[in-house]
Symmetry: C2
Subunit: 273 residues, 2 copies
């Protein structure tokens, strides 16, 4: 059997009881190490699971799926992923590959930022399409995510913005070489995302109507589900100066507020006056 | 401390390890019994938790929050909810009430249908606003959810449709009386939701452009995360005749399909020819 088990928001005890049983009984356990987990967590997880974990980076999951799936016909093999197993297309890929090889598969669900963001008090039913905000480079500065935020805002919906995570990304120079060299890991902060958004707005070149202004209300959420979770509500312009601390960060561009949402958000306002 | 702990998709072992520890150490544990849990599960949960559970119906959570929160200043009180704690506004209400009473609160997240629906292979980032489809009565036949589905479909997004759950609903006759009488529990099936949608379409009275036809692709998902989970992909017209078995059911009206989504969905097609 091939299992994909969700780790939830990333604390060692965020795995479900069923997930833990599966991990402890498995022959081999892989830990997906590129979508969001922090490197220092591997040892904590191994200690708690009483099980060695094999790190599976992006290249391995995408290009060596058969190595992970090896012997899963007879034995139990587990791939651990942060959040819920269906947060990334890669996991659909490996499940399809397992099916092609006639390997039975099971998925153990868990919380992901897509539902846990509800902790800020915004109703999950009032969110539109989720967007991803990528790190800009000198020559690549996409702004298409603003169109989706506008599409949501036009009909009063909130937008969850997932902020870029770069773990084990090859350097530009080594991308075509056999021996890859890797950039240091980077996690986009809410203030960086806000700064990029402000630059797009200041430029003022919009394909369609723009509803996102400097005064637009945003929720910055850091380390959701962790003991030091931090949530701040501020305008876009204010948020560009807010330091929310260590990763992971996410952001919501707020749409139309319902009374109960407004009441809940109040506790997080940066300026409570 | 007042905790709201998510039970995930409802199997006893779907609670997280951290959630289980909190439950086992708590002074009192309430089980929210009206948004989706099935009555026969209470005993199973009590046996696994080694803890008695106090049933909290809608009236209790909405009107007697202070009874639940009693003594939570000094002792640990837990409210268990199916899915993730922020799936329903009621839970935001009771957290706000606790804050007003200066009681510390913590939330333990878990999977909910809002992210677990990814198991059908549709990418969670391609979903628009979620809709709820209510049971119709003889005199109340709302169709406004179709507008939202159309709004999503117009820009290529999928729509998760949450189907009505009626647990411990007072009868019309007893609604103003002191002694309430309750209707039997009802859980809307995918085929009933499809039949309501087909009636709206057949009537042909649309406020705006309608993109939902009899041939429109739908995903029916029953008992997501359970051992007997069932997923079927069919047209809306076909789905109105599909029996997906016991509750809970959810449905997705499919938007624009990406190649990997299409490939994943194929395994669930009702007509594989």
């Amino acid at each position: 059997m091939f299992y994909i088990v969700g780790l939830g928001l990333g604390g060692v005890k965020d795995i479900t009881v069923r997930g833990l049983e599966i991990v402890r009984n498995a022959e081999r356990v892989y830990l997906e190490s590129y979508t969001s987990i922090l490197p220092e967590d591997k040892l904590k997880l191994e200690t708690f699971y009483e099980k060695p974990l094999i790190e599976a980076d992006r290249e391995m999951v995408e290009q060596s799926a058969d190595e992970i799936l090896d012997s899963a016909h007879e034995k139990d093999v587990v791939l651990l992923v942060v959040g819920d197993p269906f947060g990334a297309t890669t996991h659909a890929d490996i499940l399809l590959r397992a099916r092609d090889l006639n390997i039975n598969t099971k998925v153990v669900h868990n919380a992901s930022i897509l539902n846990a963001i509800g902790c800020c008090g915004l109703q999950l039913y009032h969110f539109g399409e989720t967007v991803s905000i990528p790190f800009w480079t000198d020559i690549w500065r996409p702004s298409s995510f603003l169109n989706k935020i506008n599409q949501n805002k036009a009909i009063g919906l909130h937008t969850l913005c997932l902020l870029d995570i770069q773990v084990k990304e090859p350097t530009w120079e080594s991308i075509t070489k056999k021996k890859k060299e890797y950039q240091p890991s980077r996690f986009m902060e809410v203030k960086e995302a806000c700064s990029q958004l402000l630059q797009i707005i200041n430029k003022g070149e919009f394909e369609e109507v723009n509803y996102v202004s400097r005064e637009c209300l945003c929720v910055g959420a850091a380390r959701v589900g962790w003991p030091d979770q931090k949530i701040v509500v501020a305008t876009l312009a204010e948020m560009a100066d807010v330091d929310l601390g260590p990763p992971l960060h996410s952001m919501v561009i707020v749409g139309k507020l319902h009374p109960i949402e407004e009441q809940f958000l109040k506790q997080f306002f940066i300026n409570k006056t």
